[in-house]
């Protein structure tokens, strides 16, 4: 299971703030929802199910974009790698 760092702030208007580094990010609607689910400790399977129900996207395609998005969160050091491990 993946988790974003506990102290990451997510606004309803699509901004993400990392108080440790002071970096801010902009995020689109789909990214915002995924980040919200990750904060709620949802599993990849749960997130995939929720998103493919809401959005016009098949499971395989969603997973592809999801893991690409996760790689960006990792690149920006927003993931709690210890939690993941």
């Amino acid at each position: 299971m993946m988790q974003i760092k506990k102290n990451i702030a997510l606004s309803n208007t699509g901004f993400v703030f990392n108080p440790t580094t002071g970096d801010s990010y902009t995020i689109n609607q789909v990214g915002q929802e995924i980040l919200g689910y990750l904060s709620d400790n949802k599993t990849v399977e749960e997130i995939t199910s929720l998103m493919t129900t809401t959005y016009d996207i098949d499971q395989a395609s969603f997973e592809k974009y999801f893991f690409d998005f996760i790689s960006m969160l990792r690149q920006f050091e927003l993931l709690d790698e210890n939690y993941e491990n």
Binding site: V16, T26, N28, Q29, Y55, D68, M72, F76
Partner: protein, 448 residues
């Protein structure tokens, strides 16, 4: 319940710094239609990728250019630069509008004839004209622009066995204050080679020197360079009039007018820096009109502009194949248009637009073509919307050089369509097939 449209998830780091002083739009406006024909319809009907040419845009650009020059100079003649785009349908639009043909090879020369251009309205440029090419051009009274002394003596030799007096001009290269100076074609003005060539033609008496030609460079952003060039050409014409009492019939200032594409490495976008037709026309016309030439006997001004007339009329449509992350986290998008179809991506930062509305989110992206070659890069870094596999896009301003310098490399060249003035879509070059490629090949018996 109807499902919501999916956009791939996206996160972008906000960079503190100077805001863009150009006020660039942060959202990519889609190009959904070309001349009122929907892009998805074009791709569904004719396949992806697809070249699209707009007849209306060609005619509009031509009229703009013609008006800019004819309102400033009494005798103006355009000659369509075949090498810029020699698809027959494109050439015929220009010829219908009144353009002569400007060709640089025997192949282009024959194409012009087959397009119905009169021999006397074909300008034959270039350093490589075979004896057979020259014989044909002499026979047809075409205007042969001499590139070097070897060619001049070939023409003289051929004319001795022919009943015709060849109509020739010399190509002149010169310093117009721009770098790099194009001195590989023709005879130099400053070192006296041009005068030497003129004197040899006039003294020989076997050739008719009817014109003077120059072509100072390509994608010229300084209209003043044309003023310098036209002034030097007028000086040569006046010198010929004074020394030999011969009035040169035309001054051909070549082409090189820039299109509004942005050159690689340019600080400002091409749309902000490229001179208008009016600026080029003013520079050239004023230089000739203000010269010593007799205003009652002015030479015709010939223009061979290609790129500036046809670039805007071409679009290249394509489809996203895949997205991936590079090792540094940067996004890469792979599309079905490669440098084999977009040769001008070596020179320009081509504008790429989505074919359907997208959100305001854009990501710094490298756009790669589909070729299995490291150099197949359409854009090194472009703020690009979040297109996903199967999404369609439109590359703007590709009408010049791509349909002549394209390569049949690892795949086949696609359809080219023309949207006519009537709004109908016409295939003007059919996509290639295996049979077409293989019929040129011969397998020796021992390998069968």
């Amino acid at each position: 319940m109807e499902k919501k449209l999916f956009e791939r998830p996206f996160i972008k780091k906000l960079q503190a710094g100077m805001p863009s002083k150009f006020g660039m739009k942060s959202q990519a406006e889609p190009i959904t239609h070309i001349d009122n024909v929907p892009v998805p319809e074009l791709l569904a009907e004719h396949g992806s990728p697809l070249y699209v040419i707009s007849e209306q845009t060609i005619r509009e650009k031509y009229k703009q250019a013609r008006q800019a020059f004819t309102t400033r100079y009494p005798k103006v003649q355009f000659a369509w630069s075949y090498k810029t785009n020699y698809l027959d349908a494109v050439c015929r639009i220009f010829h219908q509008e009144g353009s002569w043909a400007e060709v640089v090879s025997g192949f282009e020369y024959d194409k012009a004839l087959q397009n119905g251009v009169k021999g006397s309205q074909i300008i034959f440029n270039g350093p490589d004209k075979t004896d057979d090419d020259l014989k044909k051009a002499i026979e047809n009274d075409s205007l042969i622009h001499i590139d070097h002394f070897d060619e001049m003596y070939s023409i003289i030799a051929i004319s001795e066995n022919s009943g015709k007096r060849p109509k020739v001009a010399i190509r002149v290269n010169m310093d117009t204050g721009v770098y790099p100076m194009w001195d590989r074609f023709g005879f130099n003005y400053e070192n006296g080679d041009a005068w030497d060539a003129i004197n040899r033609i006039m003294i020989n008496k076997k050739l008719d020197l009817v014109g003077l030609h120059t072509h100072i460079g390509t994608y010229m952003l300084a209209s003043n360079a044309y003023k310098v060039a036209a002034g030097k050409m007028a000086d040569l014409a006046f010198g010929i009039e004074r020394k030999y009492g011969v009035n040169i019939k035309y001054i051909d200032v070549g082409g090189g007018f820039a299109s509004r594409n942005t050159l690689k490495g340019a600080y400002y976008p091409g749309s902000d820096t490229v001179p208008s037709f009016e600026e080029y026309a003013e520079a050239i016309s004023s230089a000739i009109l203000n010269s010593e030439l007799n205003p009652r006997n002015l030479p015709t001004l010939i223009l061979e502009t290609g790129r500036a007339l046809v670039d805007d009329a071409g679009w290249l449509l394509g489809t996203v194949i895949a997205n991936k992350r590079l090792s540094n986290g940067n996004r890469a998008t792979i599309v079905d248009v490669g440098i084999n179809l977009l040769f001008t991506s070596f020179w320009y930062e081509h504008e790429v637009y989505p074919a359907a509305p997208v959100s305001e989110h854009m990501e710094e992206t490298t756009i790669y073509g589909p070729l299995c070659m490291n150099i197949d890069v359409l854009r090194e870094a472009i703020a690009f919307p979040l297109l996903k596999k199967g999404d369609q896009f439109v590359i703007k301003r590709i009408g010049a050089y791509n349909m002549t310098q394209w390569m049949q490399f690892i795949t086949l060249r696609p359809n080219v369509v023309l949207i006519g003035l009537d709004g109908k879509v016409h295939v003007i070059r059919k996509k290639e097939n295996m049979e077409l490629i293989r019929q040129q090949e011969v397998v020796p018996d021992h390998l069968k």
